[in-house]
């Protein structure tokens, strides 16, 4: 099982999207990129105190150039890395003592996580996923759509345990952008969740 989000998860999703004829057909008219914002919550803390999940998450951040990672400086997430966990923002996953860091994460409180977010950008274009990568705060802020929510809600969506519409309508995930465009292309959104995301089992 892959960790969400991780380098392994991104790779598996890209492969699944490329292989899925159902997705290609359902999303053939879709044009629009997403800035995705994952907010830390209780489940995030719990998961990140597990070595495998922490390692996976660090591999995700590692996909960003060190220069981009430095843009987290001064943000709640940047403060957690630098001040609470003692990880320099430009450090690579290889430089990190996962045993030690997962122990430190388990001592964090929900209050420490206030405002802490991770970002990724995904570019969907006529049935293909042209890009999916972690980004720094402020990057791709002009994306056509912005989808934000707690880590636990994201996990429910990408695992396929809960449908995207229910998560959005019950305010677990917040979608900003041209809503009528999304509604007209709902089949593509649903197929992406069911056929692509849910085909990659997560921790």
């Amino acid at each position: 099982m892959a960790v969400f989000p991780s380098k392994e998860w991104v790779g598996a999703v890209l492969v699944a999207a490329a292989k899925s004829d159902k997705y290609k057909e359902a999303a053939k008219d879709w044009e629009g990129d997403f800035l995705c914002i994952i907010e830390g919550d209780e489940e995030f803390l719990k998961d990140m105190s597990r070595k495998k999940v922490l390692e996976g998450f660090m591999s995700f951040l590692d996909m960003m150039p060190a220069k981009a990672r430095k843009k987290f400086a001064g943000t709640p997430m940047g403060d957690i890395f630098e001040k609470k966990l003692g990880i320099p923002l430009d450090a690579s996953v290889k430089d990190i003592n996962v045993d030690k860091i997962s122990g430190l994460v388990s001592k964090l409180s929900l209050g420490d996580l206030k405002g802490a977010c991770t970002y990724f950008w995904a570019d969907f274009w006529h049935g293909s996923v042209r890009a999916m990568e972690p980004v720094a705060p402020g990057e791709h802020s002009n994306a056509a759509f912005k989808l934000s929510g707690k880590y636990s809600a994201w996990k429910m969506m990408v695992s396929g345990k809960q449908d995207t519409i229910r998560l959005i309508m019950s305010n677990k995930l917040k979608l900003e952008g041209d809503m009528s465009y999304v509604m007209k292309n709902m089949k593509g959104v649903i197929t992406l969740t069911k056929e692509v995301f849910a085909s990659v089992p997560i921790e």
């Binding site: 449908d163 519409i165 998560l167 959005i168 309508m169 019950s170 809503m179 709902m186 089949k187 649903i190």
Partner: protein, 424 residues
């Protein structure tokens, strides 16, 4: 039982059994109760303790008809479109008034089951689904004293200038601590309201500048600040008690606000698609009931030395009625298959509203035309309370107004035809 040309009725034993079971319920429970309720001179007696209305609700819940539209993941029956259509036609055959009570009863819970999570599912949907004694009874609050059928057009883009100018919504929800405070009146046409425990309610949210800032919420009605009106006295569908609801600072939790902007504008049309299919199927049942009454009467009533049905003029009338019933059944069924597929199977919520609304109009119009022809065959006897056709005729006439006048429904469909005919 009548012969159906849809091969699925012959091939699928489960489907034919479902039709027989529902017909038994319609014939043995709904129709006798509906006739008693229809003849009550005081409409308040319809919902009085001991009224057959409550017996029907109890049996309906015990048999699970209150779970027709609930998401199968949360206890819904998971019926296919054709199964749902067969059930609704039979319920409508029994009586459209009580069928309407069965339909509006579950509307709020059905929408919650499709879109809500967490507490709403645990504290509202699950108890609703598990209720087999009619402890809960729902209604659907749409029309307002100053805005009747027009409410249907609230989210139609071409209609916005008119809606924005004239209709600002009388029932309003404003933030109240961690929830919402509801204020204002819904009109006297809210089906089942006088007996209801909950309402699936359409409201406007701040800034209340038009119906397009609308929302849909669940409001428990047995609480301070809610006034339920008495059942109104009316021409037809008298077994469906209708009355007003007035809200005076009624509090609901935030999560009970199920559909908000911008989703309201996009989703309310899909709710109308489901309810329109319901009405199309139920009124097809009424049309069939009227036709069968006329056919049966025409075989037993002797005029000019032979049964009525031996007269060519009557034969011609019977044929016209048959054609209308059959076309209504298969037109409304086909549209229900489309709507169910988009809403319950694919979950894309992009059913064609022009088709769904036309199912409602076609079903209602067929029912009225067939009931009119049928009453004519009964002659003077058709005007008396002794024959069911008199009730069916009044119910069919009421249908041309209830749940949106067919003129306004047609207008809303026409806007969609002009705008999207070639798109999907």
């Amino acid at each position: 039982m009548y012969f159906e040309i849809d091969p699925r009725l012959e091939q699928d034993k489960k489907l034919s059994l479902l039709r027989e079971e529902t017909h038994r319920f319609a014939e043995g429970v709904i129709r006798p109760a509906a006739r008693k309720l229809d003849q009550m001179s005081n409409p308040s007696d319809v919902i009085a303790p001991g009224s057959p209305y409550h017996d029907v609700l109890r049996q309906m819940k015990a048999l699970g008809y209150h779970r027709l539209f609930i998401d199968p993941e949360y206890g819904g029956l998971g019926l296919s479109a054709v199964e749902s259509h067969v059930v609704l036609e039979e319920l409508g055959w029994g009586s459209v008034g009580l069928a309407t009570a069965i339909g509006v009863d579950q509307l709020g819970a059905a929408i919650a089951s499709l879109f809500a999570m967490g507490d709403v599912i645990d504290n509202f949907v699950k108890p609703w689904v598990e209720d087999t004694e009619a402890k809960y009874h729902g209604c659907w609050g749409v029309t307002e004293p100053e805005c009747g059928s027009d409410y249907i057009l609230a989210c139609e883009e071409s209609f916005l200038p008119y809606v924005k100018e004239l209709h600002h919504g009388e029932v309003r929800a404003d933030k109240d601590g961690d929830g919402w405070a509801i204020n204002g009146p819904k009109s006297g046409w809210i089906s089942s309201a006088p007996a209801a425990t909950h309402v699936g309610l359409h409201v406007t949210l701040p800034p209340h500048d038009s119906l397009t800032t609308g929302a849909f919420c669940i409001v428990p009605l047995r609480q301070k600040g809610v006034t339920l009106g008495k059942p109104i006295d009316k021409l037809g569908l008298r077994d469906d008690p209708q009355g007003d609801i007035v809200f005076d600072n009624v509090h609901i939790p935030d999560e009970y606000m199920l559909i908000r902007p911008p989703f309201y504008e996009l989703r309310v049309g899909q709710i109308i698609c489901v309810t329109s299919c319901f009405m199309g199927a139920a009124f097809t049942g009424l049309a069939r009931a009227a036709f069968e009454e006329a056919l049966s009467y025409s075989k037993s009533r002797i005029q000019g030395g032979k049964p009525l049905c031996e007269h060519q003029l009557i034969k011609q009338q019977l044929y016209k009625m048959f054609e209308k019933v059959e076309s209504s059944r298969y037109y409304t069924r086909k549209i229900m298959e489309h709507v169910w597929n988009r809403i319950y199977t694919e979950r894309t919520y992009d059913a064609s509203s022009r088709h769904a609304v036309s199912a409602q109009i076609y079903g209602k119009r067929s029912a009225f035309e067939v009931a009119t022809e049928a009453l004519q065959i009964f002659g003077g006897y058709g005007l008396t309370k002794d024959f069911l056709i008199e009730k069916l005729f009044r119910d069919a006439r009421a249908g041309l107004v209830e749940d949106g006048t067919i003129e306004v429904l047609g207008l809303s469909s026409a806007y969609n035809i002009v705008k999207e005919y070639q798109e999907k």
